[in-house]
């Protein structure tokens, strides 16, 4: 898909004034957070499981080459075909070759972020193969020619009246007078329309939540059942998975499953957790005759051993974006590429370059909620800071910002000069505010004051007040900093 991350600021502004979007985003702010909280509170071992899940992925990543080899051996032994793809282009080509060999005209797809990352749908269509998304949310956005705005709730940016008008537009063989006012009616219609597609498809494509080295198994975790029909009914099943999806054993998958659904949707367990190992066995009455796995690198190996390695623990639960005030305000599309929210702000620069996505690690208040809820304990704010540093080192941020930071650094490295300068500036600003407590406009601060007032400082700096209080025997720290200057 096109990279629109450089236009983050314009996209975010447009999103903030989009009434439909803002109404839809209200559902994220309430639903996900409460449901996760309830599920987590009901499991006393949740935090210990997070530590366990983190340790499993750290161990796997440290031995990834060996687990990949072990996985490949077991998957092959079970009759599967394992393909290796260095890049998105390679993965698309491999999938196309499998589809061509199967004589495919239609492929069904389970929900998969990795096939969004490699932009598989547009490629298959250009090659004359029709991809049909079968997850309800993915189906809706495919009808609208959009991309997911959330990694587990792809159509969370839409309201039901929008879905209704899309269904009326596309399902024009159905009676115009039908009642689609309730979500249940929309779901029922999608179910009926998609049923025939599963049987018509020659190839079914899914992602994987886990690949298990011990058994050569791929696991998908879903609620709708579409992923299962996608991998069950066509003659060929293709799994596309990035290399960091590996876990050593079934027990390891089980540990991470305990934190996955709770963090994502607040369920103790998703409805369908399906372990697939190879193609149909002799005597089996159903199941695919061919089973392929495309192992994709696409930038992961260069994150290994870097300060971004921890990001490879991500299990795509979406908790970080569900709890992010920036995501709540602008939604997922503003981020301009496949992965939105805090995990996208870290992963996107790793995959497409910080030169194209520098706004994303800057689109954070550093409130820390993402890290606080991450089941894999990924230090997302820290890694956003790493990207900001890289951006600065490479001279990618705007000149005014760089000049300002340089100026600040000059003073910050000279504490006496810094204190002297602030002891002049703070009373001056306080005087300028003339007791109003805030500025509505201030030269050089238009970026701030255009949207909100800038609080004016107290008449004395923090350091001065601290000294006074310490001298007076009062515990300044207990009172908290007033007039942070």
């Amino acid at each position: 898909m096109d990279i629109r991350s450089p236009a983050f600021k314009q996209s975010a502004r447009a999103a903030l004034s989009d009434a439909q979007l803002q109404r839809a985003l209200g559902n994220v702010r309430t639903g996900f957070i409460d449901k996760r909280r309830q599920a987590v509170d009901a499991l006393p071992e949740f935090d210990a499981l997070r530590d366990s899940a983190k340790a499993i992925k750290d161990h796997t990543l440290a031995h990834l080459d060996l687990y990949l080899e072990a996985y490949e051996a077991k998957a092959t032994e079970a009759g599967g075909h394992v393909h290796w793809a260095e890049t998105a282009e390679d993965a698309r080509r491999i999938v196309l070759d499998i589809c061509r060999a199967a004589g495919a005209r239609t492929v069904t797809k389970g929900k998969s972020m990795i096939t969004e990352e490699i932009d598989l749908n547009a490629f298959l269509e250009a090659e004359g193969i029709r991809p049909v998304e079968t997850d309800l949310g993915e189906y809706i956005i495919q009808l609208r020619n959009e991309h997911p705005s959330h990694i587990i709730a792809p159509a969370v940016h839409l309201n039901k009246d929008q879905v209704e008008s899309d269904f009326r537009r596309v399902h024009d063989h159905l009676p115009a007078a039908r009642d689609l006012s309730e979500p249940a009616a929309l779901l029922g219609e999608a179910r009926r329309v998609l049923r025939s597609q599963y049987f018509a498809a020659d190839v079914g494509i899914t992602g994987a939540n886990f690949l298990v080295a011990e058994t050569g198994t791929s696991i998908i975790v879903t609620n709708e059942g579409n992923g299962d029909l996608t991998q069950l009914l066509p003659r060929v099943h293709v799994v596309v998975a990035s290399i960091e999806k590996l876990v050593p054993t079934l027990e390891d998958a089980s540990q991470i499953l305990r934190v996955l659904a709770r963090s994502a949707t607040g369920q103790d367990m998703s409805v369908y957790t399906t372990f697939s190992t190879g193609p149909r066995r002799p005597g089996d009455p159903d199941g695919p005759e061919e089973y392929h796995v495309v192992l994709l690198d696409n930038g992961r190996s260069s994150m290994l051993g870097s300060e971004f390695q921890d990001m490879l623990r991500c299990i795509r639960c979406g908790a970080c974006m569900n709890h992010c005030p920036v995501y709540h305000a602008v939604g997922g599309h503003a981020y301009g590429w496949v992965y939105p929210g805090p995990m996208g702000a870290v992963l996107t620069p790793s995959l497409i370059g910080v030169d194209k996505s520098g706004h994303l690690p800057n689109a954070s208040t550093f409130c820390g909620r993402c890290e606080a809820v991450c089941p894999m304990r990924i230090p997302l704010p820290k890694m956003m800071r790493h990207w900001r540093e890289r951006e600065f080192e490479r001279g990618l941020n705007p000149a005014a910002q760089r000049y300002g930071l340089g100026l600040w650094a000059f003073f910050a490295r000279r504490p006496r000069l810094y204190r002297f300068a602030t002891s002049l500036a703070v009373p001056a600003l306080a005087a300028m505010a003339r007791g109003r407590g805030a500025f509505r406009r201030l030269p050089l601060a238009g970026g701030w004051t255009r949207h909100r007032d800038l609080p004016a400082p107290e008449s004395r700096t923090f350091m001065q007040q601290w000294r006074d209080r310490s001298a007076g025997g009062e515990t300044a720290a207990a009172r908290g900093p007033e007039g942070l200057a």
Binding site: N27, D65, L136, A153, V163, S254, Q267, M269, G305
Partner: protein, 223 residues
């Protein structure tokens, strides 16, 4: 160099690991061989009746319905009662699972039983669970000559028979059962953990039951 070798080489370089490092290989081999269990929630360690009760409670929390019967012979009547109670036609689809086959289906008059892979028009499918997991109210079924996977997904109603003796407290115990049953490192083609009926929250985060899989999951617990 093949894509495979390139990727593996890149991974090794990034990790600062040489190809033939014996200590790393040993660590991986040991982990795969021993498959250490991690943290098992306390609620997964219940026994006997408490375990079955938790299984029922969690399954109902996940919107499954549960019926308890005393012995396998009671299952066909329970299935018939379910169909009548929901005004469904007296027809079910099931595989050739020997545990189901041994039940007295002939005692239920006019029940039509379809065998083999599921058909898109089937309204009700019947499976026998390989195991149950109490901590989440989950049933585990697997593919095989006698167990078409489509029965779990295509019909609108999925009835799953679970023997209380097969209900384990936690997921790890079920994994151990699979290992004992199929052999270490070997799996059936498809192993399905099912927790309640299919659902979607994709339209305005409104939770709706009955997405692409069954609208209703009915568990018949024996014992």
């Amino acid at each position: 160099m093949s894509a495979r070798d390139t990727i593996l080489q890149r991974v090794r370089t990034a990790l600062g690991a040489a190809g033939g490092d014996a200590a790393r290989s040993r660590a991986v081999a040991a982990r795969l061989a021993e498959a250490p269990a991690g943290i098992v929630p306390a609620r997964g360690r219940l026994d006997g009746k408490a375990r079955t009760d938790l299984f029922v409670e969690m399954a109902e929390k996940a919107a499954a319905t549960v019926q308890r019967v005393r012995k396998p012979d009671s299952v066909p009547r329970a299935v018939a009662a379910y169909l009548r109670g929901r005004n469904l036609p007296a027809a079910v689809r099931m595989g050739d699972d020997p545990r189901l086959a041994a039940m007295p289906w002939d005692k239920v008059r006019a029940l039509e039983i379809g065998r083999g892979a599921a058909d898109p028009d089937d309204e009700v499918g019947v499976s026998h669970a390989y195991a149950g997991i109490a901590e989440t109210g989950t049933v585990m079924v697997h593919s095989g000559a006698d167990n078409p996977t489509g029965i779990n997904f295509l019909p609108e109603h999925h009835i799953v028979v679970v023997d209380a003796a097969d209900i384990e407290g936690d997921m790890e115990a079920v994994i151990a059962r699979v290992r004992a049953g199929f052999g270490k490192g070997t799996m059936p083609r498809s192993l399905n953990l099912i927790t309640g009926p299919s659902r979607s929250g994709d339209i305005e985060q409104t939770l709706l039951l009955g997405a692409h899989g069954p609208r209703a999951v009915h568990l018949i617990v024996i014992g």
